[in-house]
């Protein structure tokens, strides 16, 4: 059964939600800037290292504040939409950014990976802004099914894990490039060690892959339920989702069987995540166009 529940034209998000959105965006952007400053911090004297660590802690704190504001925004908009938070694509996209931020914050504290926040913060910021503006605001889902929350939850948690994995892979590529070039090592002293980045990226990929598989399998149940008008968008989404799955599968398999640990694995992860992001984009654009 297909159901369409949208805000009536002219109805705006509450001022509180807008303020939370602005607060979240500013906090994410500020944290991203601080994370970048932490990476670029030069010098390795004890005081300089200490200053770099302090910068990292401040960035994490600001990112945490952003995540809290994001959570408030998410709950408020879900309440306004009167929909289960994990049923609509807008909420799911926003939640993906929130979960990525939360997962990163936990891992960062444990593994001293704060510099990776320079890549996670833009992802979370992009997720909340695209969900709000690209998708035209929160909306209830187009279809109603008991399986849908599981499908969306699996996809969004997997996407969040891939987002963190990709941020780690991107950080890996920056660090690896510095080490290969040999000439500019002083500029990125705040980056974590290569092997730590590679291992962490792999683990997140490994954790997200079964969830993505589950999401794709449950997604098969909804094929054909959107009607002919959105057939092409649905097809594109499916192709992109499968492409992401194949990318991640190849990276995981080749790491285990063919020793893909360096650049290739990192690029494979990034390409896979790029496909996953495009799935969201296609969803959001379609939703904004109102063709489904």
């Amino acid at each position: 059964m297909v159901r369409r529940t949208r805000y009536a034209p002219g109805v705006q998000l509450s001022t509180a939600a807008d303020l939370l959105l602005i607060g979240t965006s500013l906090a994410y952007a500020g944290a991203g800037g601080l994370f970048f400053a932490r990476i670029a911090r030069r010098g390795q004297e004890a005081t300089q290292v200490q200053a770099g660590d302090q910068l990292g802690h401040r960035a994490e704190l600001l990112f945490g504040v952003g995540a809290l504001a994001h959570f408030g925004y998410f709950m408020l908009t879900a309440a306004i939409a009167r929909a289960c938070p994990v049923e609509g694509i807008q909420q799911a996209a926003s939640l993906m950014g929130l979960v990525a931020a939360t997962v990163f914050l936990f891992v960062s504290r444990a593994k001293r990976l704060d510099a990776v926040g320079a890549f996670v913060a833009p992802i979370s910021l992009g997720a909340i802004l695209s969900a709000r503006f690209l998708g035209g605001g929160p909306a209830a889902p187009l279809i109603k099914s008991a399986v849908l929350p599981f499908h969306v939850t699996a996809i969004l948690v997997a996407s969040a894990l891939f987002a963190v994995s990709s941020a780690l892979a991107a950080t890996y590529l920056v660090q690896e490039k510095q080490l290969k070039q040999k000439r500019t090592l002083g500029r990125t002293r705040g980056l974590p060690p290569l092997e730590v980045l590679e291992r962490a990226s792999h683990r997140f990929l490994l954790a997200g892959f079964p969830l993505l598989t589950l999401g794709i399998l449950t997604g098969l149940l909804f094929i054909g339920k959107f009607g002919d008008a959105i057939g092409r968008a649905q097809l594109l989404r499916q192709i992109l989702a499968y492409a992401a799955w194949v990318c991640f599968a190849v990276v995981l398999f080749m790491r285990s069987a063919g020793g893909w640990r360096g650049r290739r694995a990192a690029w494979g992860t990034l390409v896979g995540f790029g496909c996953a992001v495009l799935v969201f984009v296609v969803y959001l654009v379609r939703d904004r166009a109102g063709r489904g």
């Binding site: 390795q44 004297e45 660090q175 090592l185 002083g186 060690p193 020793g259 360096g262």
Partner: protein, 466 residues
Amino acid sequence: MKKSGVELCVVGVSYRSAPVAVRERVAIAGDERAPLLGRLREDGTVREAVLVSTCNRVELYLSGADDHSVVAQARKMLAIRVKEEDLRPYLYEHRGEDALRHVFRVAASLDSLVMGEPQILGQVKEAFETATEADAVGGVLGRAMHRAFHVGKRVRTETALGAGQVSVASVAVDLAKRIFGDMSKHEVLLLGAGEIAESAARALVAAGVTKILIANRSFEKAEALARTIENAEPRSLGELPTLLEHADIVLVSTGASSFVVTREIAAAAVKRRKGRALFFVDVAVPRNVDPRVHDLDNCFRYDIDDLEQVVAEGMHERKAEAEAAERIVAHEVAEFAKWARQLEVTPTIVALREKVRSTLAAELDRSLSHKLKHLGEDDRKALGVMLEAAANKLLHAPTQLLKESLDRPDGEQVIALVRQVYDLPAEGPRTRSGGPDGDGPGATEGNSAEPKAKSVPVDDAAAPRH
């Protein structure tokens, strides 16, 4: 006047002027140094000499009457195993204040390849001790060298030039940490037994590495070295492919003239390692690891030039410290040069005061034995003190004039005029006696007192005393 007054020359080659292939031919072994210093001073051209010979520099610090002859003599001495004409393009010379500045910069580790490294001061001190034992050090060089040690100490204590990562070995450890993070879970393979690689291996143990394998063509040497490094085990070089499969950090420093680790060997190792990162530190000259190894995925190779480049990059971060150190050197050079110039005018000041005092003393004696013989002991003492104070006040102006003449273009004429006005005896040949234990800068190493306070004893007398 405005001349330096510093009778010092430096002749040598360093990493800045000559590649290692040249430096190693000029290097003077420890047991050759004292005889060379003796030969240098044989004909009297060179009065004093200190020879510093390290892996990065071979330098002679010299003092003698004629700069040109001294430098020519030094050039000859350095060209033992290489033709003088071949060596000439790599040699540099410094004279006077420039030479002094160079010696101070060397002692302060400002001229070192790894700026701020602590070894150089010890090496210069050792060179000075060798020269002292060979009786090749006198007043000029002795004072300059002691002052250089003082400058070295000042730079280390008053700036952070020596803080943090400064050696090639520690750069290797830093890079290994950037690749692997926690060092405790990684194996290190030491190929060969070069000094830098050994030093890097020790630094890695200090950083937490728990297993080091040492492979050498001579198993006995590997065994001997393994006994001196914590957690080290000897291995045969024939096991290289297997060793590369397990070791994550490979320090290479063999005497081989070709690649010990070729691209093929490394690629095969990377494949067997299933892509685990592999880090080669090649500190051998000629290089022992094929540079193309660096192109392999997750494989990193740094040679001595790369490491030194990273070290140099680190130097930019200590630019402010280096500038502070340069200021210390400049100040010390100026102070030393001032002291050296004061030696030019000191004999005139001393003669002037002597003349005035002796004249007054003679007149006082005559008066006290004739017209003033009725004066009691207290009055005689009071009269003596009064004349002393009057002499000091009268001498203050000409003494100041003489001191200021050091910085005046017509300084020599001023001195001649004063000598003429006061009818001072002709100046004898100037000597700089005293040696390292005498007065002036460097008289006591580590004593930061202003040199002028000691060097011109008449200063104190210039003020009236009551």
